[in-house]
Symmetry: C2
Subunit: 365 residues, 2 copies
């Protein structure tokens, strides 16, 4: 007698475990972008088995929520995916002078944040606000694949709330909003000629000196928004030109990235750049407006008080901007150092995880 | 009864024909670089059959020469190969307001020049100087494949002489020597960082503005050598830098081409550039010194007198520099407009070919 083949069992997650243990268990289920199915299944199964939350699913995004009739709703969101594994799964523990580290792909970006939010599902018998948890896929890849964006399109009501917290690594500080980012191409033109008779042509690469001069001489502003100082940045991230070793080039393109404070709209950021590069051939290729920190809302002020340290601005663009676009103020808050994200020795200090959980419990109890 | 298969017959060339007719016959034997075998065979066969010159061969280079015991020897050299055919073989005749044109790949670069030299083999019963004819392969491709360079390595004595004339198109003017050319890379360095925190990094593309400023502000010299004014040129022919749309780049490379007067040696040209780009990371990738026009030699002065127009400087680098490196002064002289070389509608005006032959006959009779 033969038994039917069975799929590999989904590893069981213990949501009541220490959040550092839970982080490790999450890291040990590989979930490179596009391949989050096993981890999403494990999260969904644990939420069903260990909580009485309503559990919803869209692709490999798992949503859980309370329905307590509270006057306010808080959204806690974390992406389940990681950048590709580089011999750093399963997780291992390493001790050094700074303490004990969990070394693994995703440790800091952002399974420690996911673990804090997942653990919270079992730590809040009577939360002061209704809570929605969102665990989603494909944050580390092209924007159009982003799972949070897909949920926002398919079920915008699932993301409704008075404040969203994204579990990106912030070293346990509150980082408000995020800068916007846009990219554009500035192209200079000339006339081809054989380089033996350069004076017949017009060198487009030499004209690009004017573009680089603008970039080099630009002094980026620091703009205070809702009490946080956002530092802007304007940089060439690419340059290309040239036809052959004996040809005066007729075109040169500088690829520019402008990071702008969340007080500027997309249109204002574009206008600012068009004024700076007036007279040049410009083409915008990407525009992602930022998110205001939203720290003036009472629910946000209470959260900041619970964390107990001054909030900081977030410089990098994060999915808080997607909440901001839905009208939900959003903050970044999670364990771990963002500078270790994507590193081959990605790691999170074990004793920094539980305090994040404690702050959320304090705030929401 | 069956006959053995025979190879296609080599088309016969008539060296005593009008040189425009001979140009057309040469154009109708395709000879893209690396595929000159049929044309070299035809040239070799015609020289054997129609002249009593000594005929030598090295690969697809064909050499013919007199042994008259004259006090001076003149070398006439032309390459047999062309750039790739673009629906422009066989040749056709086209009339316009300027006259009758032979339109064909190679018409101007340089089968008209080859035809003039080949026709000359039957027009000089008693030449005033010994003459060596060199018809060679692979001039239009990488320097290391050049047939003239190969003959110079294998049989330098075959190229010996008091003056060499290269049949490159010069509109029937004498163009002396050639500018030298070199290429080098100037690389700027910085420090990578995420572009959301640009101040942590150091933008190598912005530093390249300093390199482009040098190029843009440089005023190339015009240097008189042996009575001819050589116009120099300094140009970026390529630029590249950039890692990703969100990364401050740590490296940017500008690819520079310097065309320098034949009065500068290779070492002097390099030194000049190293002084101009002092402090930058520079790497030379190519160095081809120029050739002095050599117009002070009596044999050259007599040739210029026979042509009857003032000589001009040659800007582009040509194989005259290979003769110059062997100690043989060298000039460019041939029918046709060099600006039509490599064009899809490459063409030579029919009535400009015979006068070049006439001038050579006058000079050498």
């Amino acid at each position: 007698m033969t038994s039917a083949p069975t799929a590999p069992a989904t590893p069981a997650l213990d949501l009541s475990a220490d959040p550092a243990e839970l982080t490790r268990a999450l890291c040990d289920i590989p979930s490179v972008s596009g391949d989050e199915h096993a981890l999403a299944d494990a999260v969904e199964a644990a939420l069903h088995a260990q909580t009485d939350l309503e559990v919803l699913r869209d692709g490999d995004a798992v949503i859980a929520r309370t329905h307590l009739g509270r006057s306010r709703r808080v959204v806690l969101a974390g992406h389940l995916d990681t950048v590709p594994i580089r011999d750093n799964v399963p997780a291992r523990l390493v001790d050094d002078a700074d303490g004990r580290w969990l070394v693994a792909r995703g440790a800091v970006d952002m399974k420690a944040g996911d673990a804090v939010f997942l653990a919270l599902t079992t730590r809040l018998p009577r939360p002061a606000a209704d809570v929605t948890w969102v665990f989603y896929d494909q944050e580390e890849v092209a924007a159009e694949r982003n799972g949070l964006g897909r949920v926002a399109r398919n079920h915008p009501d699932w993301l409704a709330g008075d404040l969203a917290i994204l579990g990106e690594p912030t070293d346990g500080r509150v980082e408000g909003g995020c800068n916007g980012t846009c990219r554009f191409l500035v192209t200079t033109h000339g006339r081809r000629a054989h380089s033996a008779r350069a004076w017949v042509g017009d060198n487009a690469i030499h004209h690009a000196a004017d573009v680089l001069d603008v970039l080099r001489d630009f002094r980026p502003e620091t703009i205070t928004v809702d009490g946080l100082a956002y530092r802007e940045g304007l940089n060439a991230v690419g340059i290309s030109g040239g036809v052959a070793g004996n040809v005066i080039p007729d075109e040169c393109t500088v690829h520019v990235n402008y990071r702008f404070a969340p007080s500027r709209s997309a249109a204002e950021a574009e206008q600012h750049m068009r004024a700076l590069f007036a007279g040049f051939d410009m083409r915008f290729v990407d525009m992602s407006p930022g998110a205001r920190p939203g720290l003036d809302a009472p629910v946000a002020r209470e959260f900041v008080a619970a964390v107990g340290t001054d909030p900081l601005p977030k410089y990098g663009w994060t999915d808080v901007a997607r909440f901001s676009a839905l009208g939900v103020p959003a903050l970044n808050y999670g364990p771990g150092d963002a500078l270790l994200a994507h590193a081959d020795d990605e790691r999170v200090r074990v004793d920094t995880i539980a305090p994040c959980l404690d702050a959320l419990v304090t705030w929401l109890s």
